[in-house]
Structures are given as structure tokens and as C-alpha cells.
């Protein structure tokens, strides 16, 4: 287990390095941020001075080197437009995005697995068919459109929910600002979280249904039934546990994607999360923030994958971690 984690960490560092080079060169190739940052009224010498002040006059390798030496000291650079630490900015916005992604995941799991099981157990019933039809919509409707429709219906037409922003926050454990503990916060959270959850909800429904459908035909289920176990125990323990491995994998992978895809939902609902920060930063070529954001996201993916691998061995004792290659 320990060896596995150490090896994974070493691999991760290589991934992060490669990632930072790619992003650095990519943003550098797009152009010089000063052209759009500086006031148009500034003259040529003002421009040169501003370029020098941000260190953008140095060759690319020198800029990358000073970035790397900063990273060695735990400093991912300073945002060009905010003049604050890039990592600080991201961490400041992270709780909002995490809250949104986690809420979406909870909605997807709490609704998706039971609905999927239902559809799997009664594939020909009306409920089962409706669930499956609904899940197709969840797959195929674009997030931004559904988001705008939710706003149209629930905010503009019905006036039930606020159309944008994050509600009142309280501190969880005294450090993390969260909004799901206040009524105002929940009101603001419901729509964006649902919007973000839709795709995964549909995915989990289909996955659970397919798994359940298949498992019901297996010998061990017939045997369990022959033993006289209650239906509840057959479904709740034997079937569910056996179909859980693919579901956990997908939940793990999708959680990372949720954080990434939150960008669309965040812009539509003006949710002050990391995704919105990234979009704003790309708009003005704020390279330190773009690089730091992608490094943070890659790290999140790596950690999630690690957790998923550890979970496998908990769910299925036959799986040994040393056998799982990164």
C-alpha cells in the first residue's frame, strides 16, 4: 500500500511538470497580456515598462525557470491582474466550486442509484421506462441551456429561487466557508447543483440499471434467492455490492470532471468558483492563475484516482493495490 502510494506520487510529479510546461508554452504562444491589460492611452515606453515590471521581457525559458524556482518555495506566482498570489486566489474560490461539485454528486448518487436500481429491477414497468427516457434527456441537453431554462422557469417566471450568485455563507470547522447550512445559501445552491448533477444523474441511472439487470441473471443471485434470503437483502447487499465497482470508478472519474465542467454552470449562475476565475483569467491571459489552476485540477484528479483505487480494495478484497498500475 505504502509503496503504491509513493510510486503514484512520483509519477504525479512528472505529470505535473509536463503539464506546467505545456500550459506555460501555450499561454506564451497566445500573446502578450500587456497588449490587452494596459490602458490604450499608454504610450510605447509605458508599455515596455509594464512588460518589464511583470518579467515578460525575459526569454521564455527564463520565465519558466523563475516560475519553477518559485514553485520550489511553494509560490505558484502572482496574478497579473489581481496582484495577489495565484494559489491564494484559487484556494479562496475552491470551497465554492467544491461545494457545488459535491452537492451535484450527492444529488446524482442519492437519486441516480435508487432510480437505476428501480429501472433495472422492473425494466418493463412504466416507471422504469420513464426513468430511462428521462435519463436520455439528461445526457443530451447541453448544460448551459438547461441552466438558462431553470433560471427562466424558477427565477423569472415563478420567482421561487434567486437567479444567480452564492448565498450567505457560514464557516464549517471554523475555516471553510460553506453556504449549504443557511436557508439563503440552499436557495442559491439548488439550481446550479441540480444543473451540474443532471449529466451524472443520467449516467449513474444507466450504469446502475445495466449492472443490476446483468447481476439479476447471475447464479449467485439465484442461489441467494434459493437460500430463502429476503428480496431486500438480495438486492441491497448481494446485487448492489457487486455492481458498485464500476459505479465507484465512474463516480471518482466524474467527480474530477464535475469540478472541471463546473465552469459552464458557474458562468451561467454567476457562481463565484474556480471555473469562473479560470475563464476570467484566460480572457486576460493571466498566466500565473491559468497555470496554477490547471496544476491544482491535475492534483485533484490524481488524488481522486488514488482514493478510487484504495476504495476498490475495500469493496473487493480480491484486488491488491500493488497490482493496480497508475
Amino acid at each position: 500500500m505504502l509503496v503504491f502510494i509513493i510510486r503514484r506520487s512520483l509519477q504525479s510529479i512528472v505529470v505535473l511538470l509536463a503539464m506546467s510546461v505545456l500550459v506555460f508554452v501555450g499561454v506564451y504562444a497566445v500573446g502578450n497580456p500587456i497588449d490587452i491589460l494596459i490602458s490604450p492611452q499608454a504610450d510605447q515606453q509605458d508599455r515596455e515598462r509594464a512588460i518589464a515590471a511583470l518579467g515578460l521581457d525575459k526569454p521564455l525559458w527564463a520565465q519558466y525557470w523563475s516560475f519553477l524556482s518559485g514553485v520550489a518555495h511553494g509560490d505558484l506566482g502572482r496574478s497579473f491582474v489581481h496582484s495577489t498570489s495565484a494559489l491564494g486566489l484559487i484556494l479562496e474560490r475552491m470551497p465554492a466550486t467544491m461545494e457545488l461539485a459535491l452537492s451535484a454528486m450527492v444529488i446524482a448518487i442519492v437519486l441516480g442509484i435508487p432510480l437505476g436500481l428501480w429501472a433495472g429491477l422492473r425494466p418493463n414497468g412504466i416507471a422504469g421506462r420513464s426513468i430511462m427516457a428521462g435519463s436520455i434527456l439528461g445526457f443530451s441537453l447541453p448544460t448551459f441551456w438547461v441552466g438558462l431554462m431553470l433560471i427562466m422557469v424558477f427565477s423569472v417566471m415563478l420567482g421561487w429561487l434567486p437567479s444567480n450568485g452564492r448565498g450567505e455563507t457560514t464557516l464549517l470547522f471554523g475555516v471553510i466557508p460553506v453556504s449549504f447550512l443557511t436557508v439563503d445559501g440552499l436557495k442559491h445552491l439548488v439550481m446550479p447543483a441540480t444543473n451540474l448533477a443532471l449529466f451524472n444523474l443520467a449516467l449513474l441511472i444507466r450504469l446502475t440499471r445495466a449492472g443490476a439487470h446483468e447481476a439479476l441473471l447471475q447464479d449467485y443471485v439465484k442461489f441467494a434467492r434459493a437460500k430463502g434470503l429476503t428480496n431486500k437483502r438480495v438486492i441491497g447487499v448481494h446485487v448492489l455490492r457487486n455492481i458498485l465497482i464500476p459505479i465507484v470508478t465512474v463516480i471518482g472519474l466524474q467527480f474530477g470532471t464535475l469540478i472541471g465542467f463546473a465552469i459552464v454552470t458557474e458562468s451561467v449562475f454567476a457562481w463565484p468558483g474556480m471555473g469562473k476565475l479560470l475563464i476570467d483569467s484566460i480572457g486576460v491571459l493571466d498566466r500565473p492563475v491559468i497555470v496554477a489552476y490547471l496544476l491544482v485540477i491535475v492534483t485533484v484528479f490524481i488524488v481522486i484516482n488514488l482514493l478510487v483505487d484504495v476504495l476498490y480494495s475495500v469493496l473487493d478484497p480480491r484486488i491488491r493495490l500493488s497490482d493496480v498500475k497508475g
Binding site: 500573446g31 499608454a42 509605458d46 515598462r49 509594464a50 489581481h82 438558462l148 463565484p272 480572457g283
Partner: protein
């Protein structure tokens, strides 16, 4: 006898107390204004980054020596008057009794400190130093009088100082940009105090009740940052905010048709124009009809430039693309601004005339061109470029369109990589000197002229007039020089203006806005209709 009276008084107090308890939240809600703005506010440090949304926020917290009214005319701010002592010296008299929100009084020391701070804010990606660097020295005559010395006669001193926010020396002396963002150092003398700044999300302000001028009707103001256009409109329609800036023109008819909302708009100081490639070379995106590069750049011939200008139906662009939210333009600044040439109009739409000019210039069949434009920078920018391309095709110039986000686009445009491309320019100093010196003066690093002259237009006569005007302290003489320079440059089509865009605001019916030329969205210019607005 006295005892019951006391009891009555007591119960009366209780009733008043109960009433006031129930009334206070209602009043507080009534005096709160929520505005959705379209762009990210990156800092609360008024000298860190000369960026429109940052300045828009700073306008509420800080004052300037000279302020601008809704028509971009200069009006007294912290300075009550200013005058030229000798051609190179300006004297500003400060308003007495102005207090910063920490209680200290504003003096000439704070003004001198603010101007010194401008070029020295670390890591600034866009400093205000363009407006202070002409000042050679400062002299504090008395606590309410300050003089600025310039190297040469300098007529633009008040215009320049209408961009510099005055901070308190006591508070800001050792403050960093972060101290301003946290609110610690964001102490000004403006109409509002900073309550909370959350980057990327909102700015919350509370009224400064010790403000020296007219007080704002709103006790509390929240700027919410909603960049997504449909989301911003939805925030207004759902009643989450009282006003929004820049509603997309496509949604205007929907908002106007709803009796619950009001739309106000005003011609902006921003001109939308095209740059021609003025370099003597084979222009990168022009070919003959067969697709072979042309050895000579046809845009060097003023007849070709004129033909292009005549081929454009500006009124159609205004009516169809801009939904009426613009006005055709044949010059650099709009009617109310200093240096506007009365009666100077754009070329009339004339397909036959354009074809004739092209034939005279030796291109009877036209040529092929790719036009470039930014995406998402100006109102309907991509659609304008597409419309222009179609119009050019009617006179034989087969035009293709390429657009890109502003960041990579401007980087390429600044390197003369395009043949014909669209840009916009806001004359933020309220004068024609601003576009003339930056867009039409010959590119000259040493003199600091033509910094955004991306087409590399160059005309010695225009240069001469601009340089003279920039040193002419007498307003009437300067106006004439700027007008003459504009006429010459427009006759020559150094650049080709298309229209002045309007800035648009949409509000709830019970709030009105006094629209501004400078595009700012200022909370104190929103007024409740018919007394106190309903929550």
C-alpha cells in the same frame, strides 16, 4: 397623577420602538441598490490597474481633482478651480473641509502623495503613469493650493488629473494593493465606503454620510459581477438586481416590451473603426481575384480606401446589426466632445461611386481580402465585421472574415499582421486629442505618439497639427487645431470610422439612470422614481 402619565409615555415609547423595529428592515431594503456589472473588478487599489471596471468601482470610493459630468465635460471635484499660471505651470485650488472616511482632512499633501504613488505601485499590469509622467515637479503653496510644473506647455493637465484618484497619505503611505483589497487602506473621500470586496463576485458599498457634495439616495450598494449576458438579463428579469449594464442588443426588445423595466442609453465616447494597412509592402491578406498575392498594397491608394468607405452602408449596420443602438460616424469623437468637427459626416453609401473609384485606382474587378475583427470585445463586433465583408463583396472586393478573442487578436494587430481590421477606441479624456495622438499620429516611440497606430498611418501635416495642439494651452486655438487635424486625417481616411456605439443600461421601472458618455455605471446616478423605491 404623574405615575400614569409616565406609564403612558413608556407605552408610547414601546410602540415607537416596536414600530421602528418593524420599519427599519423595510427602509434598509428600500435604500439598497443592486447592480449587475459585466466585467470582473480585479482590485480595490485605485492606482494599481487602469481598467474600466476597477475605475468604475473606484469612482464611488475615491474622488479626483477634476471629475467628468455625464457628457464628459470637466467639472470641479476635489479641486474647486484650476488655472494656468504660466504656460508650463498649472495651479489647482482644493476644496476646503473635505474629510476622508477615517476622519482626517484632505490637503495638498494627499494630492502630491497620490500622484507620487501612481508610478510606484508594484507589479502593475496597466499603470496610470501616462497621466502623471508629464509632471516634472509639484509645489505645495499652502494646504489648499498645489502647482504642477511641466516641461513644455501642457494643455491636458486637467484632463489627465481627471483620471487620478486621490488617496489619503496617512492611510496609504505604506499600504500594498492587498491592503486596499482587504478594505484596510481603501479609505477615500467619495460618496461611498467599501464594505466588502470579494474578487470575481461582488463589491459591497455603504454610503459615506460625511460626503462633501450631493449625497447618493442609496444607503447600501452592491455590484454583482455577472459576465454571462443571458444570466445578467435573467438577474434583472427575476428581480434579483435593480439594474444591469450592457444588456445584449438582441434582448432589448424583450426588456423594452415589459412594463416592469426601463432601458436608457447614450452615445458613448467610443468610436468603432477600421484600420487600413498603410505599409508599402505586399499586404498579408490581400490577393488578386485568382488568389495570388498583390505586389503592391492597394490600400495605399486613397481612392481604394474611399471606395471601401463608400461601400459600407453604415445606417444599415446601425439599424440591423446594432438594433439602433449606435450612430453612423465619419470622425473620431461624438458631438458633445471637445474637438468634434460640426457637420463632418461619413461617406454616403454609394455602390456605383465605390466601383468607379476602384476602377480609377486600377482595380476594376476588385480584389480578395480577409478582414479581421475581435470577438466579444465591442458590442456585436463579429456581426459588424461580417456585415462589412458582405457590403464589400457588392463592389467587387471579395471579403472573408476572421475573428479572434481580443488577447491574441490585439497582439497580432499590433504587429501589423492584418490588412484591414476592426477596433474600437474610447476617448476617455473627453477630447479628440486622445484618438488623434494614439491612432493617427505617426508611430514614434521617443515622442510617445501613435502607440496604437496599428495601421501605421503617417501624414506629416496631421502630425504637425497634433503636436501643435498638444502644446496649445488656449482652449479655442486647441479646438481648432484638433478639428483641422481630424478633417485632414478623415479626408485621407487614415482610419475609417463606422459608428459611435451606445452604452445601454436596463433598470426596474422604479429606478432611473442618467446615462453617461464615459460608459460608467455609477450607483449615485441611479435615482428612485417617485420618492422611495419599493423593495
Amino acid at each position: 397623577m404623574r405615575f400614569p402619565a409616565f406609564r403612558h409615555a413608556f407605552s408610547a415609547c414601546a410602540v415607537v420602538a416596536a414600530l421602528s423595529v418593524s420599519l427599519i428592515p423595510a427602509i434598509a431594503a428600500a435604500q439598497e441598490l443592486k447592480i449587475a456589472v459585466a466585467a470582473d473588478i480585479t482590485s480595490m487599489d485605485p492606482h494599481f490597474f487602469n481598467l474600466f471596471p476597477n475605475n468604475n468601482a473606484a469612482e464611488h470610493i475615491f474622488d479626483k481633482l477634476v471629475q467628468m459630468d455625464a457628457d464628459s465635460k470637466m467639472i470641479p471635484g476635489l479641486a474647486t478651480s484650476w488655472k494656468v499660471i504660466d504656460p508650463t505651470t498649472w495651479e489647482f485650488k482644493l476644496r476646503k473641509g473635505v474629510k476622508f472616511t477615517d476622519g482626517s482632512e484632505l490637503t495638498a499633501e494627499d494630492v502630491a502623495f497620490s500622484i507620487d504613488r501612481v508610478p510606484n505601485v508594484p507589479n502593475s499590469p496597466g499603470p496610470f503613469s501616462a497621466y502623471t509622467k508629464a509632471i516634472v515637479s509639484k509645489q505645495i503653496v499652502d494646504p489648499y493650493t498645489i502647482r504642477f510644473k511641466y516641461a513644455a506647455p501642457y494643455p491636458l493637465a486637467p484632463n489627465d488629473l481627471s483620471t487620478i484618484y486621490i488617496v489619503s497619505k496617512k492611510v496609504a503611505a505604506n499600504a500594498t494593493t492587498e491592503d486596499f483589497n482587504s478594505g484596510k487602506a481603501a479609505i477615500g473621500s467619495g460618496r461611498y465606503k467599501l464594505a466588502k470586496y470579494t474578487s470575481g463576485d461582488r463589491v459591497e458599498l455603504v454610503r459615506n454620510d460625511t460626503y462633501w457634495g450631493d449625497k447618493s439616495p442609496w444607503e447600501k450598494v452592491t455590484f454583482k459581477i455577472i459576465k454571462n449576458e443571458p444570466a445578467r438579463v435573467a438577474a434583472l428579469l427575476s428581480g434579483d438586481v435593480d439594474a444591469i449594464e450592457q444588456p445584449p442588443t438582441a434582448d432589448l426588445s424583450r426588456i423594452k416590451g415589459d412594463p416592469k423595466f426601463t432601458v436608457s442609453s447614450k452615445i458613448s465616447h467610443r468610436v468603432i473603426y477600421f484600420n487600413f494597412d498603410h505599409l508599402d509592402r505586399s499586404s498579408p491578406f490581400i490577393t488578386d481575384k485568382a488568389g495570388k498575392p498583390l505586389a503592391k498594397n492597394p490600400l495605399l491608394d486613397v481612392r481604394v480606401r474611399r471606395a471601401i468607405s463608400k461601400a459600407i452602408n453604415r445606417q444599415a449596420i446601425v439599424d440591423r446589426v446594432m438594433e439602433g443602438q449606435a450612430i453612423p460616424s465619419g470622425q473620431l469623437v461624438s458631438e458633445k466632445l471637445f474637438g468634434n468637427v460640426p457637420g463632418l459626416k461619413a461617406d454616403a453609401y454609394d455602390v456605383e461611386g465605390a466601383k468607379k473609384l476602384l476602377a480609377e485606382a486600377g482595380y476594376p474587378d476588385g480584389f480578395n481580402i480577409t478582414i479581421h475583427g475581435p470577438a466579444g470585445r465591442y458590442v456585436n463586433d463579429e456581426k459588424i465585421v461580417q456585415a462589412v465583408a458582405q457590403m464589400l463583396s457588392r463592389v467587387g472586393i471579395t471579403a472573408k472574415v476572421e475573428t479572434a478573442p481580443m488577447a491574441p487578436y490585439s497582439a497580432r494587430a499590433a504587429k501589423q499582421e492584418f490588412s484591414l481590421h476592426m477596433v474600437g477606441w474610447g476617448a476617455s479624456t473627453g477630447e479628440a486629442s486622445s484618438p488623434l495622438r494614439s491612432l493617427l499620429a505617426t508611430f514614434n516611440r521617443e515622442k510617445g505618439l501613435g502607440a496604437v497606430n496599428w495601421g501605421r498611418y503617417s501624414n506629416v501635416k496631421v502630425d504637425y497639427l497634433i503636436e501643435q495642439a498638444l502644446q496649445q494651452v488656449d482652449d479655442e486655438n486647441r479646438r481648432t487645431m484638433l478639428q483641422n487635424a481630424t478633417k485632414l486625417a478623415m479626408e485621407d481616411l487614415g482610419i475609417m470610422p463606422v459608428h459611435f456605439q451606445f452604452t445601454i443600461w436596463a433598470t426596474k421601472k422604479n429606478v432611473t439612470y442618467t446615462p453617461r458618455t464615459d460608459e460608467y455605471t455609477l450607483a449615485f446616478q441611479f435615482k428612485p422614481v417617485g420618492g422611495a423605491p419599493k423593495p
